[in-house]
């Protein structure tokens, strides 16, 4: 479908309008929605899978699924929650396929992934890779997405006790791993 607004107008348009246009099948509007949300979705996937290429591929799958089922979206205001559900389900599908790796021991080569101008520091994603996939998902949803425990329960379908335990133990493990490499979280 041809866009009703020019690209420059879409860039300036408010979120609800752009989402409504995308829901009506406007591809340019959907591209704009993607441009506005891509950093968050990719960051979420990078934290979970640690690999940039795989993270980008999963993020693209998220947007592809969103485009396919946009007509099911009832209100533009619900878009972000709905997208979050797609992000989580895409990750869980990847876990079910058995493509997600968990590192039991940290490879010293991974430690200095980030080269800051003054210091070399432990990559957070490397530390996250030491957590089991379910625990990693709960920690990322809590600390990266800023979700509450009940929201994580709704998104993942895990029991509340499991979610709380995953977040507490996962955060403790991250602190331990990061401090082992001379870094305070």
């Amino acid at each position: 479908m041809e866009s009703r607004l020019a690209v420059a107008e879409l860039r300036q348009a408010p979120d609800p309008l752009v989402i409504a246009l995308a829901c009506a099948g406007d591809r340019s509007a959907f591209a704009e929605v993607m441009r506005r949300r891509q950093a968050r979705v990719r960051k979420f996937m990078y934290h979970l899978c640690r690999q940039t290429a795989l993270g980008d591929d999963l993020a693209q799958q998220v947007f592809l699924k969103a485009w396919r089922s946009l007509s099911q979206l009832r209100a533009a205001a619900a878009f972000d929650g709905w997208l979050k559900r797609i992000m989580v389900s895409t990750w869980l599908e990847e876990v079910r396929r058995g493509k997600v790796e968990t590192t039991s021991a940290i490879d010293p080569a991974d430690v200095a992934v980030h080269h800051d101008t003054t210091t070399e520091r432990m990559d957070l994603d490397v530390a996250l890779a030491t957590l089991q996939p379910d625990m990693r998902l709960c920690v990322v949803l809590a600390y990266s997405e800023g979700l509450s425990h009940p929201e994580i329960v709704t998104l993942t379908g895990m029991p509340l006790g499991t979610v709380k335990s995953h977040i507490t133990r996962g955060a403790a493990r991250l602190r331990e791993v990061l401090s082992d490499y001379g870094e305070r979280s």
């Binding site: 950093a39 960051k43 934290h47 980008d56 592809l64 990322v140 800023g146 979280s185």
Partner: protein
């Protein structure tokens, strides 16, 4: 999340610092390319299915016509039979049977 007692604000700050600059291009362009490719594939598959259904209907038309003629003849002969005396008896017996079954079930 910040309302929880065991929330680690330092860890949250660490998460916030990571992956701060994620440029939209070429990610958005690649994703849109995938979307366009999928749409093209969907259109192609739909057209293929229409064409296959049309060809199947053309190929099967002699059998379909013959089958329809046989069905028509069978229907006509059964109507003639049902309108005659044996048909009336059979329909009557069946109606009585249905009434009896309904009575037994309602008890």
């Amino acid at each position: 999340m910040t309302g929880h007692e065991d929330f680690d604000a330092l860890l949250k700050a660490r998460f916030d610092r990571e992956h701060q600059h994620v440029p939209a291009d070429p990610f958005v362009a690649n994703a849109m390319h995938r979307i366009r490719a999928e749409q093209r594939l969907q259109v192609g598959v739909r057209m293929g299915l229409y064409a296959a259904a049309l060809i199947a209907a053309i190929v099967a038309s002699p059998w379909l016509i013959a089958g329809a003629a046989r069905l028509n003849a069978a229907l006509a002969s059964s109507l003639v039979w049902a309108a005659g005396l044996p048909g009336v008896w059979v329909v009557g017996v069946l109606a009585v049977g249905v009434l009896v079954v309904q009575r037994v079930r309602s008890r």
